[in-house]
Amino acid sequence: MSEPVRPGAGPAALLRTPAFWVVSALLAAGAVRMSQILHRFLAAYPLATVTAVGLFALLAVPFWLFVQELDFLEREPAGLLVVAFAWGGLVATTVSIPGSVALENLIAKLGSPGLAADWGAALAGPSVEEIAKTLGVVAIVLIARSQVNSVLDGVVYGALVGLGFQIVEDIVFAIGAVAMAGQGDEVQPVITTFLVRGFLAGVWSHTLFGALAGAGVGYLVVNTERSRRRRITVAGLALFGAWASHVLWNSPLLRDGLGNGAVALLAVLAFKGLPPLLLILYLVRRAHDREAEYYVARLAGLDDPEMITEGELLALGSGSLRAAARRHAADKKGRKARASVRRLQRAQARLAVELSRAPDDVGRYHLEVRAHRAALVALGHPEAVVGARTWRHTASTIGTAALAIAVLWVALAALGGA
């Protein structure tokens, strides 16, 4: 976890920030509202509600870990990540429920019921939800602007706001499905909702849209060398991109065009979800690489192999290479070495961040890296570098991919035939 950038800006300073209290009040109001809804769900469908909360909470874990890992080098404070998640789950949802309903009603009133039936969900939901979620990243900027110091930070906070929204919305939809089924307190509709919204649609859902809009806020805040007009335009385009991706996903296009069955469902998922997914992954990758390049350059400037070697510099800038270095250590010297490599990588990342903040005051971070280096030397694996690709890893990758495709196919077949 990174230290606050502003010297002395600890929790006490945060408490003196007016925006902090406003955001806290909004989170509290959202918590009250969502608790009322949850209480109603629990009273009507206790088993289904507990199942939905449990399943979707579990779904949040891999998403959270993935998003957190994106910003390995300059990790965000856990408290702010929780605020972002809570904003999505409590504030954005509380605002979006009445706002989306009202907008869809207006589409029916000013257009027609037919227009609302076809395009209401596609237009009303994204219009309200994307704004409400993006305000979560703005809230983070207001209460801790020094923590949003790269486009990638915006991506991380935006993705977590989206994740919070997605999880709560999925729970609401799951209980809505239980009510619609009219079979009482049954978990079957929850499982179906989990498969459709969590498993199949989860990858290209609010987390992704939030990441794109968050990137725009990050760009707006960070790129001070650009004109304000350009930054506002880019932030607006990012929000528009998130909105457009969401509209495409919710749109009635291809709703019936490709027929039933797993192949048709897969084609629709690919057409509607893949373009935004690839675009956003590309942007995230680019933001990640630029940030990594910046921090790795700080470490390279030390020219001290005890702090970081040439091989480690290569590995540290890429998530997959960092993982490969840990795997290599595990293959050579066991799990202890894997854990030690991870600790060394973390220490090197902290040192890089501190070098960029206060280069004259990094003594304790040097010591930290030295300590982890000594631990690795003692294990007989002095350097956290990437090894040659092993057949075991290749087989594991192929096996995991095959398993994922099989599970996806079974889910698609079950849902497509339903």
């Binding site: 950038v5 920030t17 007016p18 925006a19 406003v22 955001v23 909004l26 109603r40 009273a43 009507a44 469908y45 504030v91 509380t94 605002v95 979006s96 009445p98 706002g99 309903v101 009202a102 907008l103 009603n105 207006l106 029916a108 009133k109 000013l110 019921p113 037919g114 039936a117 209401g120 704004i131 409400a132 305000l135 703005v138 809230a139 207001l142 602007r145 020094s146 110091n149 790269s150 486009v151 009510a179 619609m180 089924a181 009219g182 079979q183 009482g184 990137a215 760009y219 707006l220 805040v221 960070v222 790129n223 001070t224 060398e225 680019r286 933001a287 630029r290 940030e291 910046y294 921090y295």
Partner: protein
């Protein structure tokens, strides 16, 4: 996209805290309260021609009661499912059509479950058979919620369920129910979706 800067990170106004927070609250309020206020300000009622069948969805039609208006906020036509919401003064008359693979008993059970799943709602009396002029056979019953009463009817035809719910204050219901029941008897499935 962006580059990393380690200096004081932005040239946005240096103390945007409170003002920014108020703008944040204002936008949220516009979404949560402003949009619903605008929605309430625009009428949802549309007049309907007398004695003319209204197409609900999936080939199901009904002749609304004379004087009824269409509430567009609860009306969503569709090829395989949809809803229509009519209002007779304060009385709400809703028809929902959706695909269904079970029989009439199962459809009625499902509708009753949904009604009683809403806090404070209770089904009352016994369920009776009902039929329409077009030959649809169904079941009907009643329910209450505090000082409001309600009637429901359900039909199953060609893989569809047609659910009718009527709700309003007891006095209003008593006055309008004959016209609504006459309207329900005009429900028809014309076989074209």
């Amino acid at each position: 996209m962006g580059t990393v800067t380690r200096r004081h990170l932005t040239d946005l106004p240096s103390t945007p805290g409170l003002l920014g927070a108020f703008v944040l609250v204002a936008v949220l309020a516009a979404l949560a309260f402003g949009l619903p206020a605008v929605d309430r300000a625009v009428s949802a009622q549309r007049s309907l021609p007398d004695d003319t069948p209204y197409r609900v969805a999936a080939g199901v039609t009904v002749v609304p009661p004379d004087g009824a208006t269409l509430d567009v906020t609860g009306t969503r036509p569709g090829e395989d499912r949809g809803t229509a919401l009519f209002r007779l003064g304060p009385v709400r008359y809703a028809i929902a059509v959706q695909p269904f693979s079970g029989d009439l008993t199962a459809a009625a059970h499902r509708l009753r479950q949904r009604i009683t799943g809403t806090s404070g709602y209770q089904v009352t009396g016994t369920q009776l058979a009902v039929s329409t002029a077009g030959g649809l056979a169904g079941l009907q019953g009643g329910y209450t919620a505090g000082d409001r009463g309600g009637r429901y009817a359900v039909f199953v035809v060609h893989g569809l369920t047609i659910e009718v719910t009527v709700s309003g204050a007891d006095l209003d219901l008593g006055r309008t129910l004959p016209a609504i029941e006459a309207s329900t008897r005009t429900l028809r499935f014309d076989g074209t979706r």
